[in-house]
Amino acid sequence: MKVLVAIDESEESFYALQWAVDDLLSYSPAAEENAIAAVTLLHVYPPFQPFIYPSGPGMHLVYATPVVIHSVNKAQREKAASILSRALTICTEKNVKAETLIMEGDAKDKICEMADELQVDLVVMGSRGHGAIKRAWLGSVSSYCVHNLHCNILVVKLPLGEGKPTGSK
């Protein structure tokens, strides 16, 4: 079973990974060479828009200098690397084989794209537990993926009472 776990810096996605690793993936039969699952940890960071909209009347777009772009990209990559290394640690602690992948772009599109490309059987992601209204305005990665993925999806939520409450009516 090939599994893709979508990770960002939120607590929910790490909880999702931990849950998946604990409950789903660490029960491989003893002598099995190819473990239950091959896990791909995917982190998508939003593209950096290299222009700045200054406020004030009649101002034009200001493009960030290459130095700024470069340092922001570097910071994003470093952040991505640290997120994924934390995720990888969670996997190796439970003897789950995992590999990491970093992409730039819109999270929901990239997740669906990679799921198709890698032909995964299951995508695991956390859910921020936004209410219906917030979800309509802010968009929901998990909602989009639920509808657009061609494979199975597991949306993991923080248990009630721990952190944010799950979706409201």
Partner: protein, 144 residues
Amino acid sequence: MEKTVVVVGVDDSERSFYALEWTLDHLFLTVLEKCPFKLVVVHAKPASTTAIRQDLKRMAAKVLEKAKGFCEAKLVNDAAFEVMEGNARYVPCEAVENHQASVLVVGSHGYGALKRTVLGSVSDYCAHHAHCSVMIVKKPKNKH
């Protein structure tokens, strides 16, 4: 050891049975000896007038028989089977509460965007409202 309760919602569609089968194959077959999961299969029977109640009852019984057959074929003998009356969206979420489940598995109708807007999506509702993790199993278009 406390078992993790997994609720699977089934109706009479092939997709939901595919979801049940997928769950059995991936969550239950992999660890026969010490299976950490307890399966609860739930069927939502729509609330009805007395006229069609008999028909619905019969259909519900058939659905659960079929589900039982699936489970036993995969050697899962301690699953629980339930019929709950109500809307297909609310029933799985309610079952999750009743059984304190950690996972809810539902199939997906695979409706397109338009149909989904008009008819609503059970799996979407469950994904957002169930108080536990939700797995949506989709039947692949070309089964390999």
